[in-house]
Symmetry: C2
Subunit: 452 residues, 2 copies
């Protein structure tokens, strides 16, 4: 037979069982944390009508999209989870209760140029809160607490949720007579981390057409740093000159003000005037999250407030706030940096039951009882030498072997061998379940991400 060489497409993550188990554990934490805050899980098709998906149209998106025909239908794979959410809410608005809080963890597709650490198929893990007509500022204040809880549960403490407000930026630019250039300015300021203030200043003058005074005002503004209280105090100095600015400052103070009640420590939160987020549709609070020891990773969780989620589909005003974790990229980077906890079990089972007699019946019966007690159990069923069976457990990292020889069977017992310590005890199946259950729980206690 002529054979086809098996291969996985470049830019598509396909993990071996060990790393896959680590990724599953991260996903489970995200599902559980999002659920704790009252978000409902949602699942939308990966394929949509191209007309629907590209309603907004234009730009990078259209170039990267996977688009194709099937029969007469012009179809496309989703490139984020926000556009499908907008469609979903517009389509089902009359059947939903608002505020509508949903989470979605799903694959999205972008045919980017393949390069290391860039993926064409990747998971996003999003939450959004959508209001009907209005949405209280408190929702924007709640988001940092969800980010905080998520990353704490994943095992991190040295991270910072950086927050700004687009109204403050827009209001400030308006004060400087630069309202019509705010988009260009924000995109330029967004590069501050990468190129530094000098080059930002040069671009502002040369490309954006600002005067030197305007440039200096902007550079002075974005250089406001310090504790949250200090930054807010400095912003008060600009108050009273522009309504939008004042509104944004009020919102930012509200967001910062509720942190303690939401359980977010000061040190995990920073008002940062350099954050703008590229996307045009953000209108209020914007968020980025950076790992303090790994700034090179960039933001691992970003989002913001928008006034009109589904303007392309409906007249209905649907303001919202949301954040997104680029899960596949985050997982990849954590692995590259060696930050995934290697002590957490990645074995497919907690116990490998080895029949040592011709009749595997007693071993099967013990395995059935272990499973009844919630122990992930595999019976080794192949005709192999004892050494090979133990080597299988070892390679997979299965922590316990359960041996059923004639003596054990006659006594109604089984021998449990801890494959980490080598200690072996002969006990009843109930005792075996208790022992293995406790040991497996102990081994699974650590966090997914290790801070170094």
């Amino acid at each position: 037979m002529e054979r086809i060489k098996p291969r996985t497409l470049s830019g598509f993550m396909e993990l071996l069982p060990g790393p896959q188990m680590q990724l599953e554990r991260m996903m489970e934490i995200l599902r559980r944390t999002y659920s704790l805050y009252g978000f409902t899980p949602l699942d939308t098709p990966a394929i949509e009508s191209a007309e629907v998906l590209l309603a907004k149209g234009g730009g990078e998106t259209e170039k990267q999209i996977y688009r194709f025909n099937k029969g007469d239908a012009d179809l496309a794979l989703r490139f984020d989870l926000t556009v499908p959410l907008a469609k979903y809410v517009a389509l089902h608005a009359n059947e939903l209760s608002f505020p509508f809080r949903r989470y979605q963890i799903g694959k999205v597709y972008r045919g980017e140029r393949a390069q290391r650490g860039r993926f064409r198929e990747f998971y996003q893990a999003d939450i959004d809160i959508i209001g009907d007509g209005k949405l209280d500022i408190l929702n924007e204040a709640e988001i940092p607490s969800i980010i905080y809880k998520t990353f704490r549960t994943l095992g991190l403490s040295r991270f910072q949720i950086r927050v700004n407000n687009r109204k403050i930026l827009n209001g400030f630019y308006a004060m400087e007579g630069l309202a019509d250039k705010s988009g260009d300015i924000m995109r330029t300021v967004d590069k501050l981390d990468k190129i530094g203030p000098e080059k930002v200043g040069a671009i502002l003058v040369e490309d954006c057409g600002l005067t030197e005074t305007q440039r200096d005002e902007i550079l002075r503004f974005i250089s406001i740093t310090g504790s949250n209280g200090e930054v807010l105090a400095a912003l008060e100095g600009y108050a009273g000159r522009n309504e939008t600015f004042d509104q944004g400052l009020g919102e930012l103070k509200a967001v910062a003000g509720y942190l303690a009640q939401f359980g977010v420590p000061e040190e995990n939160f920073a008002v940062d005037l350099t954050i703008a987020r590229g996307l045009d549709y953000y209108t209020g609070t914007v968020y980025e999250t950076t790992l303090l020891d790994h700034p090179e990773i960039g933001s691992v969780c970003s989002g913001g407030r928008y006034d009109n989620l589904a303007a392309y589909y409906t007249d209905r005003q649907l303001p919202g706030v949301g954040i997104s974790i680029g899960l596949t990229r985050l997982f990849y980077v954590l692995g590259e940096q060696g930050l995934l906890n290697p002590a957490l079990p990645t074995a497919p089972a907690d116990a490998l039951v080895l029949p040592m007699t011709a009749d595997p019946g007693p071993a099967i019966a013990v395995a059935t009882r272990l499973r009844g007690a919630g122990i992930r159990t595999q019976v080794y069923m192949e005709q192999k030498k004892f050494k090979q069976k133990m080597s299988y457990a070892d390679k997979l990292g299965i922590p316990y072997a359960v041996l059923l020889g004639e003596d054990e069977i006659a006594a109604g017992k089984c021998s449990v061998k801890d494959l980490t310590t080598g200690v072996q005890v002969t006990v009843t199946p109930e005792e075996a379940a208790a022992l293995i259950g406790a040991g497996a729980a102990e081994k699974a206690r650590g966090a997914v991400i290790l801070e170094k």
Copy 2:
């Protein structure tokens, strides 16, 4: 602005939050059950090279497949989880330990003609056990116990796992001098349930070219019914005439023989000689699972033993056994038949905390404490009348409202209202967490599927 009409493609399931929660619960049960048997979770790309995906080629598959170009690449969406598994195992064989046990719950794509209850994007939930060169018959014996445990955990007891062995069929046809027609005969016999024995007999003679004696032998063979013991005894009457038949009978007896140790009751298992499974690659035990009160649904879990998983990609002999649940279709049919337990909670939260004072701080603080105790908690943050807030909880089916008025705040307490009974108590946040936690656990106790 010109608006695009929001719509979801026909044949693509998109659920409202309530049903989505039910589907999530089913998926969680599948993940947990498969894990109990030592299967490791796997995730492969939805897109593969068309050359790889269509290595086997031909037939219905090729017509239904979503295939498209991106740049120079000829791509396709996976139409099942088996071909990607074959590719995965062939590609990573040297990094895997065999037997390799994996589960995968993922979306697959088939551009079928759209009709009610047929989906173009649907979840399959598969398990497979792959051996390297050999795979013991015990693995085939274990599969019914996994099917049993899965459907019992979903809430069903009135279902039957129907089992046959392709070697018995092939051996029997060989005895009758019909070895070269076995494929045609199996496909015809497969229609027995739908068209009855008379029409099957007619097709066997007219289309398959059998003699009347051969037809009668086949009809007599497939009419062997009774208890498992009776069917196996009747099959003994054919033994000793064909090696393949005898081997198949030995396998079938082994599979039936270990049922009790695997914990599968007699009444949930039936040897059924009419089952063949259409797919050519099955070579041993084959499985179908039917709901006794809903035979019209057809098989809800099917699969079998195959000798060569990845022949299109590698010389390596990789025998295996696997089963698949067509999850989206099963979920759809259960919903249509009203078999999904409506008593199980589908609310996004267990508690809705209502601030009753101008400062929402105390309400937020209580919500943070409830979440710390694992309670799924939403704070209602919009400026609305009390009645509207309660109506929101009601519409979403949130079971408890937690009220924070001035009296409660002054006393360091909160009022918990059970929205099912209307009973309201004023307690400390710790007592509230205990009360709501116990109530939510109680409500979530039932099974997902209700038998009627």
